[in-house]
Structure formats: C-alpha cells, structure tokens
Symmetry: C3
Subunit: 265 residues, 3 copies
Amino acid sequence: MTLSVTEVSQIRSLPLQTRQTPPLVHCLTNQVVSNFTANILLALGASPAMVTAIEETAEFAAIASALLINIGTIDTPRYQAMREAIAGANKAGKPWVFDPITAGLPFRMKIAAEFIAEKPAVIRGNASEIMSLASLANTSFKGIDSKAGSEEALNSAQQLAKDIGTVVAVSGEVDYVTDGQRIIKITGGHPLMTKVTGVGCALNAVIAAYIAVAKDPFLGTIAALAAFSQCGSEAAFQAEGTGSFSVAFLDRLTQLQEISGFGSL
Amino acid sequence: MTLSVTEVSQIRSLPLQTRQTPPLVHCLTNQVVSNFTANILLALGASPAMVTAIEETAEFAAIASALLINIGTIDTPRYQAMREAIAGANKAGKPWVFDPITAGLPFRMKIAAEFIAEKPAVIRGNASEIMSLASLANTSFKGIDSKAGSEEALNSAQQLAKDIGTVVAVSGEVDYVTDGQRIIKITGGHPLMTKVTGVGCALNAVIAAYIAVAKDPFLGTIAALAAFSQCGSEAAFQAEGTGSFSVAFLDRLTQLQEISGFGSL
Amino acid sequence: MTLSVTEVSQIRSLPLQTRQTPPLVHCLTNQVVSNFTANILLALGASPAMVTAIEETAEFAAIASALLINIGTIDTPRYQAMREAIAGANKAGKPWVFDPITAGLPFRMKIAAEFIAEKPAVIRGNASEIMSLASLANTSFKGIDSKAGSEEALNSAQQLAKDIGTVVAVSGEVDYVTDGQRIIKITGGHPLMTKVTGVGCALNAVIAAYIAVAKDPFLGTIAALAAFSQCGSEAAFQAEGTGSFSVAFLDRLTQLQEISGFGSL
C-alpha cells in the first residue's frame, strides 16, 4: 500500500513547515535524556518544555501543541504527573506519543496498560515492547520474544494499532509505521544511533512535534523516522565514534529542510 | 551613564580572577540543564555543586560562594529545598541569582513572588518574565506582552531593581543590565545560543560565580553576559549547527582569560 | 607487588571481552551525570539502565550484571531506592560499586556509613573521601585533610579495603587501586578530565561493567582506570577545550579494544 502524491509531498515538507510554525512540545521523559531531547527539538525548530510538577502538568499539556510520555525512569510522583498530563492533553484534544520503556518490569507494565487505554496518538517501541503491549491490549494474544526483530513484531503492531485506534511504530534495523491498515517501511540510519543514549527517546519527541504540525499522526510519524534515518546516515560519515556522531547528528538536524526519501516510498 | 575606568578594568579581569580564586556555586537548577551548567562553570574555572536534598540545601548554600535558583522544572519537594537554600544563603550573607522560568503558570508565579521577596542579588529573565515579575513586585504596574523585546522591558527592569533592591538583567537580541539607576547594554552573541538548551540557565550560574568573585552584583552580571556574548560570537564562526556550536562554545569558555569589550562600553 | 602474566593479559583484553559479552549496568547515579554515564557505557559496549523507582530497584539490581551507587544528588526517596537496590544486588550475588560523594555533609556521611557496611565490591573516591570513609569504618582512625593527595590516602585506602573486604581506588593526579594487600598505581590521564563534569562518576560505572565481565573486582577496577587514563591522554591531544575533549574522549572509548599499559605494570 503506497502513499498518495499529496501525502508524500506533505511528509517531504514537514521539516520546513515545523520551522515556520514551531510547535511547543511538552516532554515528560526520563532524566537521562531530557537535555538531548530538548536539543534535538530545538535543532529542528520546535520548542521543548519539560514541566513536571503534578500541580502544572494538566494545565501545561492543554496549552502545548503535543505531549510526550516516556516511562524510562518512572516513579510514583512522575506517574501521577503523567496521568494528569495525559488527561489534560486528551481534554484539550492535543495529540500525545507514548514511549513504553517497560524493561519487563511489572510496575511499568501496569502503568503502560493504563496509559494505552487513554489512546495515545502514536506508540513507538522496539519489537519486544510492541509485542508485549499488544498482548496487554488483546488478551487472546500470546508469546513474546525479547530478541524479536521489528519484522516479527509487525502483526502485533497492526493488531495494537487497530485495538487502540492509534499509529504504531516499531523500531529496529528497519523501522515500520502502521495505522492498522497501511504499513510503511523506513530504512537507512546507522548502528551508531543505538550507541548514543536517548536517540530513540528524542525521536519520539520529534514524532510529537511533527504530528502536531502535520495534524496527521501517520504522516508525522513517518516524517520523524525518515528525518532521523536521513540525518543519522549523513552524520555517521563524519563520525569517529559516538562523541563526534552526536555532534554531527545535531548539526545535520539543524540544517534539515526537507525529507529526501525513505525506504518504501 | 558610563562605568568608571576601575569598574571596566574589574569586569575585564573577572574571568582570570575567577580561575585564580575558584568560587563554589551551589546550583538548584532544572534537570534538563544541570549537566551543561556544571560543564560551563568548570570550563570557566568555577566549581559547581548540585546538592538538592532538603536535609542539606540550607547548610550547603551557607558554605558555597553563591547560589543559583532556577524554577524551570520545579515541583513541591524542589520548592522546599530551594526555600531552605535561600534562607541558608541569606543568613550567611551569600549572594544568590534567581532565574524566573514562569511560563505563565500560576503555581510558579506564586513561588516567584515568594522568592523575589527574599531579595536575590540578581534576577535575569526574558522581557516577558521581567515584566511579569515587576507587576508582582509593584501592584500599580500594568500590562504584560509576552512578545515584548528586551527594550520594552527596560522600564519594568529598572522598577523591579528599585523595588527589590537588586540587579536585573533582561535577555533578548540585546541584553540590558540595571541596578535601578545605571543601565548597561550588551550586544553581540549569536542566534544559535537560543537553539541550545540551557545556555541562558548556565549564564545565570556564571553570574552567580562572577558576582561571588567580583563582590559586586552589577559588575559581575555585566562580566558574565559579556563573556557569553563574546564566546558565543566566536563559537558561531566554527559551527555548522547546534552540535558543533555547543562544543566550540565550551572550548571558547575554557580558553577565556579576559573580557575584550561589550556593546555600550 | 606485581600482577601475574595471566592477570595482565586479562586486564589487557577486558575492553574487547566487554564488547563480546555486554554487561547490563544498573546505575543509581546523580542527575547531573546520568546522560554522560550512559553514553560512556554505550561507547564501551556495555548496556546502561537507570531504573530509579523504589518499586523496581531491588528487582532490577538482581537482574543486572552490576550496580552503581553514587550519592552525588541524593535525597530521601533516592536513598530508599538505593537501599533496596543494594539489598537486591547482594541477595543475587551481583557486585556493586560505591561512589561516596560526601562533600563533608553529615546527612551523606550517615548514608555512606550504612552503605559501606553492606560491602560494596569496589569503593572509589578522592583522597579526602577515602580518608573520611576509613575513619567511619575504623573508629581508631584519626585525621582528615581535605587537600590530601592520593598518595597520602593510601594507608586509609588499604585499611578500608581490609576492614570492609573490598577493593578501594583512590583518584588523583596518580590513581591507586588496592585490595588491602596489593597496590597498583595508574598514571596518565590529563587535567582536562577534571574539567568535564561526570568523568569520575562515569568511570565508576565502567568499573561496575568491567568487574562484572572480569568476575574479579581488583582486575576490573584496574582495567577501568587504565582505560580512562589511556583514552583521556589520547583525547587531550585533539582538544581545544572541554567541549572538544568530551567529544574526542567518547570517540576514543568507542574505538577502545585493548588496554595498552598502565603506570606500574
């Protein structure tokens, strides 16, 4: 199933459009990656804000253009602030992205189950995370292989997308994005991207920015993944290791004006 | 109103003087920027410390040379720890800098009002933050325009400086520093400085370091702003984007020995 | 006392061995350095995880290959999560490293005393931290000089290693590692390493990774210190300041395959 010419053109122009109408992205993310996430959003012309107090998250999520929820370093106060933020975003009709870093821990699986019932616009995770969420959403689903590749998780991703009514992205050597019907494959990128902490977490923040601008979760998600794949490949040419890769990656993102293509286009 | 020759010479030599007598700067800042803030203080020869437990902040603020309070990711436990730190600093006669990231949120405006009543040595914010604080400090003040330039906020800055008895800096394309009477204008810098998260937050930490060494909040603040403006302009020449800008900026700060000038000198 | 040929060969090959069998390092570290720590572990081929909720730390520490405890920004919730993590690691027989950033504060000294009684596999600190811990562990010990060099702390380090049954590393211009009997001296490195925040904290995470792979706290600690010393010296050649040093340091760590030597070998 292919994208229409109009859709392709919208994906292509999203980086520029984002610079012209900067979205405010409310990030409730993990402590390890908050700085990198903010810098990546800024490089792409978006405005990050990391308001975290339970007294403020509902109000701020309603003001922001989109919300990111990442449970990588979740604890009880953070969980409560996130719950408020999700309620605020949903009430105001603002889209939100869920990054389910479950790490096989029961405390998080319970939170993840609660959060996906609140209908995020996009869920992005690796194969085992997506398969594990699909089993939560659909009790008839069986079997999780933590070493599964993104291809093996495709059925789970489609099922999850249908069950929740959301866009699901599965990350791996090849990335897939599905809205339950259509599947788009995004190739490119570079293994160094998995050796810098927070690349995936920051990508989810960019998805939030782009779906707010695109007003379309499916196209916005594809554009974000394609932007990272493109800038990551380019940055790797200049890299001697993870230090220079991060610098070059931020530089490429700062210069990004247009998506030049993606695997299955 | 100009600075005396002695004052200019003191400003000029502050970077070197800071390396010779390194101040210990207690930073209660937001989670997003703590790493970058610490690295910038270290590059300039100061010693950062991010002690945050309510059991320790009063004691540590009294030991430190100066204190930074930044409410960017404030929540209730952090607010309590900050209140203790401010009390500790005030009791020990140590200067402190207030960074009022209010974002228009009522929870923070209440905290900001409480904190400015404790008389920080320096307040630095953008035009809308300073205008909004001036209205808190002086109920007869009216009108806040969130899109205001730093020039438009000058009257508010002077009023706030007089009302509180503090130094106020307004950041923008051009920066202004006032002690209520005198106004100094600092030009230079580069737009890339607004595209790296925490440059402004780290600048406030440098103000804390420099006012501790200068023993003069007005001169120390001018020196900090001039140092950032100078190193930022230089770093931008080497930058291909925000990644290489950050690296070059830290390198310039590491090498900084002397303030070479500033706009209105 | 020298190392055997087998031991030297094991130290030499630890970087490569770590890439081949990546350890999962559970880091309960301070907020300032969590990103840098994760990136350094990734550059060396290890897997970082910063699970911090009290509901999860015991369970996760038992799953992980090794645990790092750093009390740099400790507060009461973090202390409780750390206590659980230590209990989980000890019960599962997993080694853990203690980074005692005590800063002379009583709240932390009490926590440090409690933690060292739980027998970390390795303790690494600067001279004054090690001397201060030795005095806690052995009440007959007297006298702490906060300006002491690593050499002056050697007796304390040996005493502490014997009292607790642990490996102790003292950092300074020259580093020392002792198991109570043997002492190994590691030279090299560069002063720029003290001007980037978190280099020491990240080193302790690498110790955790390497002792998990080596299954020997003494040899693993020596290898970690030697790796940092070697990559730090190399990175300094390319550095114009702390910004470019950090980048080059991460690049050198990414490329590291073998320890080429260390001071007293």
